[in-house]
């Protein structure tokens, strides 16, 4: 049963000094301080965000949603369906092309963020999670090529086998084992990509979209953003 002090603390909001004794209460206070609802789902963005170079991150996320949806349909119906039926071949092509767009948008997003040095202003972890999501996406795409169940996938698997054996991980990550690659491709790597991308977006919300390099320190929007983050 909670004490009157705790009840008062719960009503007073995260800014007040609260003697929370439970981990849930302390976690809530920490989360509300780090990411208040108006930062998590903002209604407006600074004027410098009104540029096409800022749309590619969201383009990659939209493509990822199509990748996951089409992949789910493929995995539920199986290889004979995506090889032999007209609808199966269409969904298979949708999966391939959404992956092409995912990487295309992600690379242009990467170029844009690199040239504006977007790790500035305490955004190093945002940059690092972006790099990780790129690396894990490449692994996910590679296992996808192995699941085509055709001569190309067989050729890729037996070329990659030598490289992975040379790296010493071939016995643990066996590209010739279709079942194992299926688990990596539809469970482990999508969970990895999804979790890293979600964390990346949360970090963008926490720190805000990086300003252009030539924006002056006295820029009123930047000053307001700094004031709001205090």
């Amino acid at each position: 049963m909670s004490t009157p002090t705790k009840e008062r603390a719960a009503e007073s909001g995260p800014d007040e000094i609260e003697p929370f004794s439970t981990w849930t209460g302390r976690a809530r206070r920490w989360m509300l301080k780090k990411l208040p609802p108006d930062k998590l789902l903002p209604e407006s963005q600074p004027s410098y965000v009104a540029s096409w170079i800022y749309v590619f991150g969201m383009g990659a996320i939209a493509s990822l949603a199509v990748v996951i949806a089409s992949g789910l349909v493929l995995s539920l119906n199986g290889p004979s369906w995506w090889h032999l039926s007209g609808l199966g071949r269409f969904v298979n092509s949708t999966h391939l092309w959404s992956v092409e767009f995912f990487f295309l948008f992600m690379v242009v997003h990467l170029w844009g963020k690199f040239w504006m040095a977007s790790w500035r202003g305490g955004r190093v972890l945002t940059w690092i999670t972006g790099v990780f999501s790129f690396a894990v996406s490449i692994a996910a795409a590679f296992t996808g090529y192995l699941l085509q169940t055709n001569f190309e996938s067989q050729w890729i698997a037996f070329e990659a086998k030598d490289a992975l054996n040379a790296a010493g991980i071939g016995a643990w990550f066996n590209v010739a084992n279709l079942g194992q690659m299926f688990t990596w491709h539809i469970v482990l790597l999508p969970l990895g990509v999804g979790a890293i991308v979600a964390f990346h977006v949360i970090l963008v919300r926490m720190h805000g979209v990086v300003s252009p390099i030539d924006a002056a320190e006295t820029d009123s929007q930047l000053a307001n953003a700094k004031e709001a983050s205090k």
Partner: protein
């Protein structure tokens, strides 16, 4: 005149372009060129104005 990128090989339906020791599959070249074009357009094209909020 030597073209910058010339057709160097054709294996079945796959076309390869080359420039000296550099070789690239036509499909990969198109994707990379599309990314560069998209990047440049994103920098130079004006962004549409949003609706005014009261």
């Amino acid at each position: 005149m030597v073209p910058l990128l010339a057709l160097v090989a054709q294996d079945g339906g796959t076309v390869y372009l080359g420039w000296g020791a550099f070789t690239i599959q036509l499909g990969n070249f198109i994707v990379i060129a599309a990314m560069v074009v998209l990047f440049v357009l994103a920098l130079v094209l004006p962004f549409p104005k949003g609706r005014k909020r009261s």
